[in-house]
């Protein structure tokens, strides 16, 4: 195989891994209260995904999800389906705050338009968050490992709510997310988003520094 072609395939693998990491990072941490089922989605031109998980204890949730994605040049497409496990490792309840440390796990099959067989992918990670009724911050690191794909991914989010509301009212927030994808681009993608939280739902709307629209949601049953 020509060295240039090998290099091209390696870059494509890196793109795939990065997109997968970015997609999973959007909502891998959260889980609902014990006995609840939470549905989540993340939609933008380059990836569309939907997840659902069920909390079997106050600290453990199992789920499944799927994501369809494509590279920036629109030539490479990937489909990934996985089973997920989320564990609340530690929580600190402050007088007016809450901090959490999460363990994330995922395993599934990856298919793509530039290889014939599917690949098994493992995706362990950790996530931490801190929030009050007016302030939010979180960070996540996750590995994606599969034959030919080996990437690290990090993201950070912070934001504030414009004002406090009663529990039964909708609360608007301004959230800014930055995420970095090692090996693909030296750019850090930054996305400012308007977040709306109500009793059962959570929705975010934004446009990234790569000029792509984005919509995220969560809903608790």
């Amino acid at each position: 195989m020509h060295p240039f072609f090998r290099y091209f395939l390696k870059v494509k693998s890196l793109v795939t891994g990065t997109l997968l990491l970015a997609a999973a990072s959007a909502h891998a941490g959260p889980m609902g209260f014990n006995g609840s089922t939470m549905a989540m989605g993340d939609f933008s031109p380059n990836w569309k995904e939907a997840w659902i998980n069920h909390a079997v204890t106050p600290r453990d949730a199992f789920g499944a999800g799927g994501v369809a994605m494509r590279s920036d040049d629109k030539k490479l497409t990937r489909n990934f389906s996985e089973l997920t496990y989320t564990r609340l490792l530690h929580r600190i309840n402050g007088e007016h705050s809450q901090a959490n440390l999460w363990l994330l796990g995922g395993a599934g099959r990856l298919t793509g338009n530039n290889f014939s067989d599917s690949k098994t992918m493992l995706a362990p990670g950790v996530s931490a968050d801190f929030e009050t009724t007016r302030f939010y911050a979180s960070a996540m690191a996750r590995l994606y490992r599969a034959p030919g794909i080996n990437h690290d991914f990090v993201s950070a989010r912070t934001g504030f709510s414009f004002y406090e509301v009663d529990y039964d009212q909708t609360q608007p927030w301004l959230i800014v997310e930055a995420r970095r994808m090692r090996g693909l681009s030296e750019k850090t993608e930054v996305t400012p988003m308007l977040r709306l939280i109500h009793k059962r739902y959570f929705a975010e709307f934004g446009v990234s520094s790569m000029k792509q629209g984005r919509f995220n949601f969560m809903y608790i049953f």
Binding site: G32, N34, R59, N93, S97, D166, Y167, I220
Partner: protein
């Protein structure tokens, strides 16, 4: 004349029954008010509310995020167990730092809390 006396008696009895009913309701309106740490978002409140509403003795629940209050009202004829409520909230992932029994309905607590804002 006889009919008038009978009507008066019925009216009097009805009044007594109505008054007794009102009095009973007022006495029965007892709630447990918990101050909870770590409750900062609507999702937190949703979890606590659903957990407490699952208890067979619960009639209503009110959550105030700003004041960190969770109020639980018992169904008529039922008694709330403070220890059980504390355990349920803790199991949901939050810490109860204060618990008190108040002679108010959840609706009264809600109205009073909103009036203070």
């Amino acid at each position: 004349m006889k009919n008038l006396i009978t009507l008066k008696s019925i009216a009097a009895c009805t009044g007594i029954v109505w008054a007794t009913g009102t009095f009973s309701t007022a006495i029965a309106a007892e709630s447990i008010k918990a101050t909870v740490n770590g409750m900062v978002c609507a999702f937190c409140a949703q979890g606590i509310e659903k957990t407490l509403l699952r208890m067979p003795e619960t009639k209503a629940v009110f959550v105030d995020l700003k004041k960190k209050i969770v109020a639980v009202e018992a169904k008529d004829g039922k008694t709330l167990d403070g220890k059980k409520i504390t355990a349920e909230i803790k199991d949901a992932g939050y810490d109860v730092v204060k618990l008190e029994t108040v002679a108010q309905s959840v609706e009264d607590i809600k109205t009073a809390t909103k009036a203070k804002k």
